[in-house]
């Protein structure tokens, strides 16, 4: 048995012993009709979801299946891309807990710690984030600086043994449930310093002076938070990277976030498409050539969503480097098309609940897609990145790189 085959059967054994297999074929009318959680990031039971995710993650970690690509010294498995793909493929067949609530810590904060953290930070935080012990949140955006991070106003001032932070953050996903926040703050008072005056901190979310207020979204749930920082003390050893070097640390996180977006989005997309196909068949809409045409378009976008990241690795280097922006634009466009198709198929039944299985559930999808065009950098930011970095077109007067 090759190493890869051995790995596959280890994964199958681990998951098979713990979780039910998903049915091979989805059926309309079977099981929970919610599209949330299973196929869409916006749950009504975040606390329960998160606890299940942490328990699952702990078991994965103990089995060496949590951080497949990570260095062994920090609890990773030191495996390659083939194994990661194999795991992703297998795990999709099992009804495992949704680990969305852990992704910020693992996909956004951990890469920054790995790249810029001290030995102590790495040893303490990387295993904790990947075992589900600690939940992370990002504290970048501010009310006055959505996509324009260089204009942040949260201030950190030197004090004995550390810093005192004042300011307000916003759009922090899951901050109300998080233990550790990746906090970008201004440590140089000179406004002209812009990016050079920023420093990254690893903030304990239970610190005195931290107030978290979940922001209710248009879907009715509250996933994003405002975070108020009122004279919060942060010790010196919580600085991540260099003082004044926060910009570089932030970019590691932002790039990882964009990279991660593609994989996750692609997996959610096919579940929505499958459900829509079944719904269309159930209500006889798939006889309509327009519906058929647009379902086929959805299938095409599903296929491309699957192969685009790998294809971009073979693109010219400038395009490959901006690949995450390209994938995000592709995916948000695909999501919008699918949501509009659902509206056209369901008509009045999408906007008012007839009680029929799996119909009004689409309203949450339609309302939720608007967040994806903004979170993680707006469409406009992504297009700027592509135009400037991939195509080498002139930069804006004052441009910038990331989002959220």
């Amino acid at each position: 048995m090759s190493g890869l085959e051995e790995f596959r059967s280890r994964v199958e054994a681990f998951l098979g012993a713990r979780y039910p297999r998903r049915p091979e074929m989805l059926r309309h009318g079977q099981g929970d009709d919610s599209l949330v959680g299973a196929a869409f990031r916006d749950s009504d039971d975040e606390v329960g979801d998160l606890q299940r995710a942490r328990d699952y993650q702990r078991e994965l970690f103990d089995a060496g299946l949590a951080w497949l690509g990570g260095p062994v010294e920090y609890g990773g498995a030191g495996l390659g891309a083939e194994e990661r793909r194999a795991f992703a493929e297998i795990v999709r067949r099992y009804d495992v807990p949704d680990v969305n609530g852990l992704l910020v810590g693992q996909q956004i904060i951990a890469p920054a710690i790995l790249a810029h953290g001290s030995a102590g930070q790495r040893a303490r935080l990387l295993p904790a984030l990947w075992s589900g012990e600690l939940v992370g949140c990002q504290l970048f955006s501010e009310p006055g600086a959505g996509s324009d991070l260089a204009s942040l106003r949260t201030r950190a001032r030197r004090t004995d043994g550390g810093w005192r932070v004042d300011g307000q953050k916003v759009w922090s996903s899951g901050a109300h449930l998080a233990h550790v926040g990746e906090l970008l703050a201004r440590t140089s008072p000179d406004p002209a310093s812009r990016t050079r005056g920023l420093t990254m901190f690893l903030l304990g979310m239970d610190s005195l002076g931290v107030t978290v207020r979940p922001l209710r979204q248009m879907t009715g749930t509250a996933h994003f938070c405002e975070v108020f920082l009122d004279d919060v003390f942060v010790p010196d050893d919580a600085v991540l990277g260099e003082v004044g070097g926060g910009w570089a640390v932030a970019n590691v996180s932002l790039n990882s976030e964009r990279d991660n977006f593609g994989d996750e989005g692609a997996n959610l997309f096919i579940r929505l498409l499958d459900r829509l196909v079944l719904l269309g068949q159930e209500i006889g809409a798939t006889e309509d050539p327009d519906v058929r045409d647009r379902l086929a378009d959805g299938y095409i976008r599903h296929v491309i969503g699957q192969v685009l990241p790998a294809s971009l690795e073979n693109a010219v280097p400038e395009v490959a480097a901006a690949g995450a922006s390209l994938v995000k634009l592709f995916a948000t466009d695909a999501d919008r098309r699918l949501a509009q198709l659902a509206l056209d198929i369901l008509g009045p039944a999408l906007v008012a609940d007839t009680g029929a299985w799996g119909t009004y559930a689409w309203s949450r999808v339609l309302l939720g897609i608007h967040a994806t065009r903004i979170a993680g950098g707006t469409d406009e930011i992504q297009r700027n990145i592509l135009a400037e970095r991939a195509l080498g077109l002139p930069r804006e007067a004052r441009s910038f790189q990331g989002g959220r």
């Binding site: 955006s141 006055g144 600086a145 959505g146 996509s147 324009d148 260089a150 204009s151 916003v170 759009w171 922001l215 209710r216 979204q217 248009m218 009715g220 994003f224 209500i283 809409a285 327009d290 509206l343 056209d344 198929i345 369901l346 008509g347 009045p348 039944a349 999408l350 906007v351 008012a352 609940d353 007839t354 009680g355 029929a356 119909t359 009004y360 309203s363 339609l366 309302l367 608007h370 967040a371 065009r373 903004i374 979170a375 707006t378 469409d379 406009e380 297009r383 804006e396 007067a397 004052r398 441009s399 910038f400």
Partner: protein
């Protein structure tokens, strides 16, 4: 093809309504109504009827109305769409009142219209039975019995504001084809089941009838033409609401783009945002032109079905796109509950499928076009 310029009276009406809603329908009132059990503000309703006489504006004077034209009434819908007024005005006026006026039943008109016009009686129309398509004439519910006295059993979906309605006009099957039956919401065997709705400023309900007593209106006639006329005229009223809403969200987005700074300048200075908003303006002015065309057709009567579908298609798509753009231009704040942007968006997508999807209306237009191509 003609389009009639707004009269001075209409301009005055518009100005008056804009001040009225600015004062009497602040955001708190909207939020309160949208979050309430029935989505209705009885005080505003009373002021609209008693102080302004809006409910009966296009009802003939001898039926207790103001005797104005339908285009005059469209100004009201446009301003209400702009202000996102919640409640049963659309149901009671654009639908029920219009249906009554289209039916050859003077008794029913005299019985019901003065109350509607005075805002004292809320009436809505129960027509649709198919879950995924809004079609008011494809009905199966029978009105058993003879003459005016009937009994009905069956279900209706997507009935607007039924919870606050006093009377239902139920589209039924009869021996003549289609009929319209008057049923009291308080009558025996009538069960109003509220549906959860995306747009909480306009509620919908399923209504179950179990041997409910009903009075068939114009019992010797096929009501199909009247129901169709109601759909057309209500469609134009909906288009007016949509144009009003679309203008409002463009204004919100434009105002925000002028003040919100990113990268050291207002985001409205970035060409991407400028062109996005310019494209919305093109769409919205196109929609307003379609509304003007349909408004003219409500008076001349020629080509109303096609004109109504032209307006419905364009205004539906334009309002949804403009409301989405408004969310997008506002960035993160745009999809919070606290911001108004989502309320307009929810109204927009709900209206888009209310009296038929854009695609359904284009199918109607195609049938007309292919029957008799317009020659130059």
């Amino acid at each position: 093809m003609t389009i009639v310029a707004p009269t001075e009276e209409q301009q005055a009406l518009r100005g008056m309504l804009r001040s009225f809603f600015a004062e009497r329908w602040p955001e708190e009132a909207l939020r309160t109504a949208a979050g309430s059990a029935h989505g209705h503000d009885a005080q505003l309703w009373k002021a609209m009827a008693e102080d302004l006489g809006l409910h009966g504006l296009a009802v003939p004077e001898d039926l207790g109305g103001g005797g104005f034209t339908y285009p005059d009434l469209l100004v009201v819908f446009e301003e209400m769409g702009r202000a996102l007024v919640a409640g049963p005005f659309f149901a009671s006026i654009a639908m029920a009142s219009t249906l009554l006026l289209a039916l050859p039943d003077r008794d029913a008109q005299e019985r019901l219209l003065p109350g509607i016009a005075a805002g004292e009686r809320i009436v809505t129309v129960a027509a649709v039975e198919t879950p995924t398509s809004w079609d008011a004439t494809r009905v199966a519910v029978d009105a058993t019995g003879t003459g005016g006295a009937r009994t009905i059993t069956g279900e209706k979906l997507f009935v607007l504001d039924a919870e606050v309605a006093d009377v239902l006009l139920v589209v039924v099957r009869t021996e003549h084809g289609t009929g319209v039956a008057e049923v009291d919401t308080a009558a025996p065997g009538v069960r109003v089941e509220p549906m959860a709705t995306v747009d909480t400023t306009r509620r919908q309900a399923r209504i179950v009838f179990e041997s409910s007593p009903a009075r068939l209106l114009a019992p010797d006639h096929d009501a199909t033409p009247a129901v169709r006329r109601m759909c057309d005229l209500a469609g134009v009223a909906l288009a007016a609401e949509q144009v009003g809403g679309a203008h409002r969200v463009l204004e919100m987005a434009t105002a925000y783009a002028k003040t919100r700074e990113q990268f050291g300048r207002p985001i409205g200075g970035f060409q991407a945002i400028k062109h996005l908003l310019a494209d919305q303006l093109v769409s919205i002015e196109s929609a307003r032109a379609a509304l003007g065309y349909a408004a003219t057709a409500t008076v001349t009567g020629t080509g109303l079905p096609v004109a109504a579908s032209v307006a419905q298609t364009l205004c539906s798509e334009v309002f949804s796109a403009a409301a989405e753009t408004n969310i997008h231009v506002h960035g993160g704040i745009g999809f919070t509950w606290e911001h108004q942007a989502h309320l307009y968006y929810k109204r927009a997508v709900s209206s888009e499928v209310l009296l038929g999807r854009p695609r359904d209306h284009r199918a109607r237009i195609a049938a007309h076009l292919l029957a008799s191509p317009e020659t130059a």
